[in-house]
Amino acid sequence: MALVNDIAVWILLGLGSFFYLVGAIGLVRMPDLFTRMHAASVSETLGAGLLLLAMMLAAGWSLNAAKLAVILGILFFTGPVATHALAQAALTAGLKPQLAEDRTRKNGARAAKRGGGK
């Protein structure tokens, strides 16, 4: 039973590190701010989630596992708030995303009247 647990911890740690690294690589590779944020959200959801899950398994039924669960909960509830605030602040400051297609323009006249989807 302990062996199964160890193997699960190994697999989760490996997968978590992989996704976490991929997000960081995207953070450096992507061409502009908004696409970088997509890459960062990979590492902040799946990467961090799997790593914390692995540590929870390694800790077993203890106070530490509960604390790790609290960290996981905080990350999942505050992550999107920070990301959204960042995206909105960037857009309000006039940063234009590089777009392949802007569907806010053709979808409805309201967007066009307001001067477009920025």
Binding site: V9, W10, L13, G14, G16, S17, F18, Y20, L21, G23, A24, I25, L27, V28, L33, R36, M37, A40, S43, E44, A48, L51, L52, A54, M55, A58, A59, L63, N64, K67, L68, V70, I71, I74, L75, T78, G79, V81, A82, A85, L86, A89, A90, T92, A93, L95
Partner: protein, 92 residues
Amino acid sequence: MFAAATVAILAVLALATIRTLKGPTVFDRVLGANSIGTGAILLLATVGFLTGRPEFLDIGITYALLNLIGTLAVLKFFRYGDLSHAGEEPKD
């Protein structure tokens, strides 16, 4: 096995630092700093496991809470120029 995860997290921190230093806009830097914050939380947790000192987890929780507040404070500061602004409408 936690050593491998620690190395991965350190690599992520290095990449996020590159993004923070390179910019080019201030928002890229904030994004990089936010990623560094998340990395610091995970690093605290794994180092806690490596050294067998789970007290680090408490610091991790504090960092997780501070990370959001720090990001929002920096964004608000760059938008309004002061932190006491109510934030309902821009100044001009």
